[in-house]
């Protein structure tokens, strides 16, 4: 059977379609499309056991196999929390449009970062970034670069304020060329270094997440230009009042003074403390407005505390 060619605009599966793995015989029912990219499609599925999972399908058997292997490596070393989604089945499926390759993983739920910040306040950005830092530090310790780090690949849990990363298609062993990337976050696109997988590559993407989250119109303006203009980015970011608390940190990374996530996190801690203070003041000002916000900020403070314990 020929392999499915993801040429058409039509996704491979519709809701309600059953999928049966050829080798392992596991059954899943498609509940909906979660995302589509150049390298495959991700679906929400319900397993035979009733569990709700995510299924990534692609026409490239080797991409799927390698990604599955990396995710397995990541969950094997989890101490307390998982680096990536838990992974399960790896299999093939015959469809009407040809043979396709898939793996099944935990379905990560959460909200996008931008709307979350709108609801909770911009000063939350530091707390979110701190969590991404912690994640990256552990990933880097294992010798992997995340690669395609971007706002769209982060989800935050509304209740706990906890950030999880999704789409591990870009995860690349240090030293190799980054497998997947997005231009805005790619330092090579901006002319600021190579596309080699290393800690500083992710760190650059992290700073671009800050700009994209706090100054979205700046991102729109700069990406609309036909060629990247880093000096304009630098100039705009350094004069943008919304990025004021971050300017020193951004400059430190862009000038090459800070190259590891550990150093970045140390400096970020100061911002987080300022954010927590701000939250406290605001709450004191308009007192028992919303109890859930308090819960959220407390849990975030605990998270921060736990991270510090782990690393110090």
């Amino acid at each position: 059977m020929a392999t499915w060619q993801p040429m058409s605009s039509e996704p491979l599966f519709r809701a309600g379609v059953p999928i049966c793995g050829k080798w392992n015989g596991q059954r899943y029912v498609v509940e909906g499309l979660l995302g589509r990219g150049a390298n495959g499609e991700v679906y929400a599925v319900k397993a035979g056991s009733g569990d709700r999972l995510a299924l990534k399908v692609s026409s490239a058997s080797s991409d799927i196999a390698l990604e599955h292997k990396i995710l397995q490596n990541l969950q094997g070393v989890a101490r307390g929390f998982d680096l990536g989604p838990l992974v399960f089945d790896l299999d093939d499926v015959d469809t009407k449009r040809g043979k396709a390759f898939f793996y099944v993983m935990e379905q990560v739920r959460g909200s996008s970062l931008a709307p979350f910040l709108q609801r909770r306040g911009r000063h939350w950005a530091a707390v979110l970034m701190l969590q991404v830092c912690t994640f990256l530090e552990r990933l880097h310790q294992l010798g992997y670069c995340f690669g395609d780090l971007k706002v769209e690949n982060c989800l935050v849990d509304e209740q706990s304020g906890r950030v999880r990363l999704v789409d591990f298609g870009g995860v690349t062993p240090f030293g190799r060329g980054v497998k997947e990337y997005t231009e805005w976050y790619d330092r090579a696109w901006w002319g600021q270094g190579s596309r080699r997988a290393e800690a500083s590559y992710d760190l650059f993407a992290l700073t671009m997440m800050v700009v994209a989250l706090l100054a979205p119109d700046l991102r729109q303006k700069l990406s609309a230009m036909s060629t990247p203009n880093f000096s304009l980015l630098l100039q705009s970011a350094m004069s943008d009042p919304r990025l004021a608390p971050w300017q020193e940190l951004l400059r430190a990374v862009w000038s090459g003074r800070v190259t590891t996530v550990g150093r970045f996190r140390e400096r970020l801690m100061l911002l987080v403390e300022a954010s927590l203070n701000k939250e406290r003041q605001e709450k004191a000002a308009d007192a028992p407005r919303d109890f859930s916000d308090w819960l959220l900020i407390c849990s975030a403070a605990t998270l921060v505390g736990v991270f510090c314990l782990i690393f110090l």
Binding site: S62, K99, F101, R176, A188, W189, S194, S226
Partner: protein, 247 residues
């Protein structure tokens, strides 16, 4: 044999239909026989890439054993990078599959998924280490004019992507039509760091789209290059040459 592995690719970037010289699909078939894979990128915005142009892009890639993608000028960089890489992997995958068939009577996809992972890791490593010879064929007909900054940017970006590979690479660039008097013009011969500034002089709007002759010139360049190396080493180097395997 893996150490000295060499890949040959042509990447054709166009926004129209060929209208001059030999039939590009037929030339693409010749390329495939010579072990050169052809990828085609059709640029949609602004140009006259109608359904005929799309069909032609697909037909050339299919005859040339490569891929075709229809994209906007903005997506050019990403697409070039991805296609070059995928085609290298495809080429090695074919070789590995043939070896597997001889050894155990099945190709990689006939293996259980877990065992396939080992093959995938090997293919991934080999395609990172292999030597790549790439010829870029760039359509410079009138409608391409405003997309040329994007093309230059995409070539710079491709270079960045190739630079982080373990294996070496050499890139040559042709434009077509070359000038009023010649159909195809060699902008820069095989080089590890092609001089992109020379591309801006070469890129000027001309009439006619001699796609077939452009592919022919690329094949001549590959052939000439091979003669030269054979003379130098004075021995058969087909062992490491993927040309011997591509089907």
């Amino acid at each position: 044999m893996w150490k000295s592995m060499k890949m040959k690719q042509i990447l054709l970037i166009t926004d129209g239909c060929s209208n001059k010289g030999s039939d590009p699909v037929q030339v693409a078939r010749m390329a495939r026989t010579a072990g050169v894979a052809i990828n085609v990128i059709g640029i949609v915005d602004g140009g006259d890439l109608g359904s005929a142009g799309r069909r032609e892009a697909e037909a050339i890639a299919e005859a040339g054993g490569g891929l075709s993608r229809i994209v906007e000028a903005k997506q050019l960089a990403m697409t070039m990078h991805m296609m070059t890489k995928h085609t290298m992997q495809m080429t090695i995958q074919q070789v590995v599959s043939q070896e597997l068939k001889q050894l155990i009577g099945t190709d990689a996809e006939g293996l259980p998924p877990e065992r396939r992972t080992e093959v995938a890791e090997m293919v991934d490593r080999l395609s990172d280490e292999a030597m790549l010879k790439l010829v870029l064929l760039i359509d410079t007909s009138a409608s391409m004019h405003e997309k040329l900054p994007a093309v230059r940017e995409a070539i710079r970006d491709l270079q960045i992507g190739l630079d982080v590979r373990k294996g070496s690479h050499q890139v040559a660039i042709f434009t077509f039509p070359g000038s009023a008097t010649e159909d195809v013009r060699l902008v820069t011969g095989f080089s590890g760091t092609p001089e992109l500034s020379r591309l801006s002089d070469a890129l000027r709007a001309q009439g006619g789209t001699p796609t077939g002759p452009a592919i022919e010139r690329a094949l001549e360049l590959f052939a000439g290059d091979r003669l030269a190396t054979n003379n130098q080493r004075g021995e058969d180097e087909r062992d490491g040459d993927m040309a011997a395997y591509v089907v």
